[in-house]
Symmetry: C4
Subunit: 220 residues, 4 copies
C-alpha cells in the first residue's frame, strides 16, 4: 500500500514539474471498492511527500492521515463509484487542453498517442467540482471514456492503474498542444478513423505508458 | 518588523524568478500610516537581500537604510495615502497583462482565480509614474479596486497584506495569459456574473493565497 | 567502435535535452554495409548510456546487445540499404517541423543554415514506420535528399557522419521554428535561389557542424 | 586591458544564456583607433573563456591570440572605421527582432526602453557580412544610429562602452518581443514622439544600463 502512495506522490510531483498541475490539482489511487488515496488540499504539489497523502471514503470521510482532502474530492469519489474498472484518477489544470475548451474548439486526434484518448467530452461549467451533484455530473459526462475536459478549468484522466492515467494525461495535453499550435497557422490534419484504429492497436501498451512515465520523470 | 521586510524580500525574488518583474519593478509593505518598506531602485531583483529594503515616508524621504527608493515610489505612496485598507503594493512588469493593454484588449475573467481581481481599470499613459501627480492619477484610476494596469508598461496589485497582493498578482497574470492565448484561436469564454460571484465566494481565502505563494516559492 | 557508440549516446541525450526527441525517437550510426548501431526501443532517451545501444542488421536481427531495437528500425535499415553514402540517421519528433506538416505548409528556407537541407519532401502518412514496406516508402520519399518530414509525426535527417546528421536536424528545426513564427505575423521572406546557393557554398563545412554540436552540448 | 576582455567574455556568455546569440554571434570592444578585441569564430559562446578572445586590426589581421576571428569581423571593423564614438559592437541572432525583419514589419517603439534605440534601419540582405564591401554597406545602413537589423539574419548594436551596447541589445530584443506578441492579437500602441522624447530623457543613463546588465547576469 505504501508503494501505491509513493507512486502517487511521484506522479503528482512529475505533473507539477511538467506544469500539468499548478498550485491545486490532485491525483488519487483506489484502495478498495469504498476508499482511495489522494493528496491533501493544502499540500504543495511540487514538493509533495507521502505525509501529504490521505485516505478517504467515497463520502470524503477521512480514514487515514491528518490533513483535509481537496474540496473537489467529488471528482474522484463519483468516478470510482460508477467505474469499477478505474483505479486511478488525475485532475489536472493543463494549459493547452484548457485553451481548447475556452474557445469551444473540440479535441481532435492530431497525433498518434492522442488517438488513445478516444472521444473527449467537455463538462459545460467552469465552476469548481466541489459538491456531490457536480461530481455526479462530471462522472456522467465522462461516461465510459478515458478523459473529460472541464470548460475553462481543467481536465480529468482515468486509468486501470496510475501509469495508464498518467500517460493518458501526457498524451491529452501533448495532443492539445499540437492542435492549438497548428490552429494558428492553418487547419491541423485529423487522423482518419482507420489511422486512429491503427494507432490504438499499435500503441496501447503498458510498456509505452511506462516509457512515457520514465521520460517525464527524467525531466524532473 | 524584520519579518515583514524578510517576506518582502522573498516576494520580490519569487516575482523576479517568475518573470513578473524584470530589472525594475518593486514591492512595498506599509509600516504605519505615514511610512512603508520598499526595495531600492538600484537593487538586483533576482538576488535581493534585506539590505536592499529601505523605509521611506509618503513624501519619499528616507527614514531607514542607505540606498535610494525607486523613482516610481509615488505608485506606493499615493495609494497608501488614500487607501488605509491597503498594507502591501506590488508594481510588476508582467508580459501577458501588458500585452492586453498594448492592443486595447480589456481584461476579462476567463479563469476562476481571475475573477478575484474584479474590474481592472487601465491608466492611459505609458510613461513612468515618477511624479506625485502621476501617482495621484494612478491611485485615482485604481479607486477602491484591487489592481490597475498601466498601458504598455505594467501592473499594480494591492492587498490587505503582502500574500494577498502577491496572489492577486499571480492570478492577474495567469488570467491575462490564458485570455491572450485563447484570443489567438477564438473568443475566450468570459465567466458570467453568477459564475464570477460563485468563484469569489468560494475562492477568496487566506489559505488559497498562502497555497499560491507556496507553489510559486517551490518553483524558485 | 566504442567511440561511435559513445558519440551516438551523446547525440541522443543532446537531442532529448533540446526537445527534438521525446520519449521515443532514435538515432543510428552505420557499422558496415550490413549493420548499424541504434538505441533500444525501451531506452530512456534523456538518460541514455552505452548499454542502451544495440547492433542490428538490415533485417532488424540483433547482433550485439540484449535489448530490442525500436519498432521503427525500418527507417534506418531501408535508408542504409539504398544510400551507401549515409552513415548516420536520426529520427526526431521535433515540434516546429511537425507543425508545418500538420497544416500542409511546405518547408521553405527562411534562414541561412536552413538552406543546407535542400528540398525537404513529406511522407504522406502519419502512421508509425514499423514495417519494411513503410521503411521503403520513407527511403523512396527521401530519395537522395538530406531530410524528410513525416506528416503529423516527425522528421528524419541523414548524414555522411553523425555530426552532419545532427547539425542538419538542428538547422531543419530552427528553420521550421522561424518559418512557423513568422507565419503568424505575415509571409516570411524565402531565400532566393542565388542566396540559397551562396549560403550552401559558404556554410557547408565540418567545422560549422562541429560548432553547432558544441553549442547544443553546452546547453545540456 | 584584461578587464575589458574579461567583461567581453561575460557579455557573450550572458547573451548566449539569454538566447540572443546562438552557436555563432560575436562581440567586440575597441582597443584603440586601429584594433579591437573579439571572440574567435570557433569559440563556444556559452562556455567562453578569455583564451577565446583575440585582438585584430581593422583589416582582420591577428595581433594577439592564436585562434581565427569570425568571418564576419567586417561588421565590427567597418563600424569602428567610421564611428570613432563607438567602442563596443555586438552582433546578435535574436529571434524576435529577426522575425520582424522576416516579414517586413518595421521596428516600432512599443515599450519605454525600446525608445532608446531610435530609428532602427534594416540591411536588405540575408547573407553573411563576410566581405569588406558587405561590412561597409552595413556600417552605412547603421549611419549614426545605435542599432541595425539584418534581414532574416540578426542584429547589431553599438555603444560608447560595452554595457551600453549590451543594454541596447536587451531593449531591442525585448521591444521586438512585445511588438511581435501584440501583433498577434491586434495593433500595438506606438509611443508618440512626445512620449519617446520623455522616455529618452528619463531613461538614458549608465546606471540603468548597469542594472540591466546585473539583471541578465543574475539569470545566468
Amino acid at each position: 500500500m505504501s508503494e501505491l502512495r509513493q507512486q502517487l506522490v511521484e506522479a503528482i510531483r512529475i505533473l507539477a514539474g511538467a506544469g500539468f498541475i499548478d498550485h491545486s490539482g490532485h491525483g488519487s489511487v483506489r484502495r478498495d471498492a469504498e476508499s482511495f488515496y489522494i493528496n491533501s488540499g493544502a499540500s504543495v504539489r511540487g514538493a509533495l511527500t507521502e505525509d501529504d497523502i490521505v485516505t478517504i471514503d467515497l463520502q470524503g470521510e477521512l480514514l487515514e492521515g491528518a490533513a483535509r482532502p481537496p474540496l473537489e474530492f467529488h471528482i474522484h469519489s463519483e468516478i470510482y463509484r460508477v467505474r469499477p474498472d478505474v483505479r486511478a484518477v488525475l485532475h489536472l489544470h493543463p494549459q493547452w487542453s484548457t485553451l481548447l475548451t475556452m474557445t469551444g474548439a473540440k479535441y481532435r486526434p492530431v497525433y498518434a498517442q492522442g488517438t488513445l484518448l478516444g472521444d473527449v467530452p467537455v463538462l459545460d461549467s467552469p465552476l469548481s467540482v466541489n459538491t456531490k451533484v457536480m461530481g455526479e455530473k462530471l462522472a456522467s459526462t465522462l461516461g465510459d471514456g478515458r478523459a473529460v475536459l472541464l470548460k475553462s478549468h481543467g481536465a480529468v484522466t482515468v486509468g486501470a492503474y496510475l501509469l495508464e492515467a498518467f500517460a493518458l494525461a501526457a498524451y491529452l495535453e501533448e495532443n492539445a498542444h499540437r492542435q492549438y499550435m497548428a490552429m494558428q497557422i492553418g487547419d491541423p490534419y485529423v487522423f482518419s478513423e482507420v489511422e486512429q484504429h491503427a494507432c490504438r492497436e499499435h500503441l496501447w501498451s503498458a510498456s509505452l505508458f511506462r516509457k512515457t512515465w520514465d521520460h517525464y520523470r527524467s525531466k524532473l
